[in-house]
Symmetry: C2
Subunit: 142 residues, 2 copies
DNA sequence: TTTAATGCAAACATTTTGCACCCTG
DNA sequence: CAGGGTGCAAAATGTTTGCATTAAA
């Protein structure tokens, strides 16, 4: 369970494991396909009767990203989305420009190629961001 | 010269070729390595003694992107950068997390792989966004 | 001269921050 | 009970828009 990794991170950084932090963490890890943004997490918690401020959601997301447990992704909108990092391997996203649907694909081979490209430039690679924009099966029919 | 493509786009869309639009266009196309953001274009023009409002810069960038002459890139900051599209082939960016330096690399092969991945999902691919974050040669020494 | 482009200021959307109060360890 | 966590409102950013004025065709 990833919750342990979260607790470990918190205690090793002298941060407290609060009810609010657990709720936010669970929203991101509960359904890996969701890629929620801050506002979506806020909306979902509100629907469950939990009132957590957007300020706290942003503060929590910021250190979850720093910790490496969560990663921030950009789908070409004016805000960020978030996804669990540790439970998945290297992957990119197929993002539909019409309906916004996001589908993941793994890219182990591509990542290897990118590392090689980095090496040739004496660049120390860290994170990879691979997004493909286009039209999903449904939207092509229209 | 890409300026002709710009003029053609303007006239075919009943838009006017103004001094201001030419200035903005030239900032993006003058040095392909720059990848300026809106504020950077504003700053550069101001340094040249040209006063162009940020509003006009954003308006112009928006239709340059729609036209396909310019593309919008995300370097993990909270704002967009812009680069000439038509003069370059498929490419990604090596972005230094320390100093912000951006180096381009071509990725024809990777793009072919991504198109194949899209095809397997019946996804009609359109644009590709490939960024590698890490540390440049200089910043690794520190 | 007609229609579109511009600058300005205000509006907007997203994210961050200061501060008084609250809760975990 | 000490020190971090939280909500709220205000501020900070980046970007868009309404409107009166200016300029291109």
């Amino acid at each position: 369970m990833e919750l342990k990794a979260f607790k470990d991170y918190l205690s090793s950084h002298k941060l407290k494991f609060t009810r609010t932090r657990r709720l936010i963490f669970e929203e991101i890890f509960f359904d890996e396909k969701v890629h929620p943004d801050a506002y979506e997490i806020h909306r979902r918690l509100k629907n469950k009767g939990e009132k957590v401020s957007l300020a706290t959601i942003y503060r929590t997301l910021n250190f979850l990203v720093k910790s490496g447990l969560v990663s921030e992704v950009d789908f070409g909108e004016d805000h960020s989305h978030y996804e669990p990092e540790i439970t998945k391997g290297a992957h990119g996203h197929l993002v539909c420009l019409s309906c916004g649907e996001v589908k993941e694909f793994s890219h182990e081979k591509i990542q290897a190629l990118l590392k090689k490209i980095g090496k040739e430039s004496h660049f120390k690679t860290d994170k990879f961001s691979i997004q493909v924009f286009g039209y999903c099966t449904n939207c092509q029919k229209k």
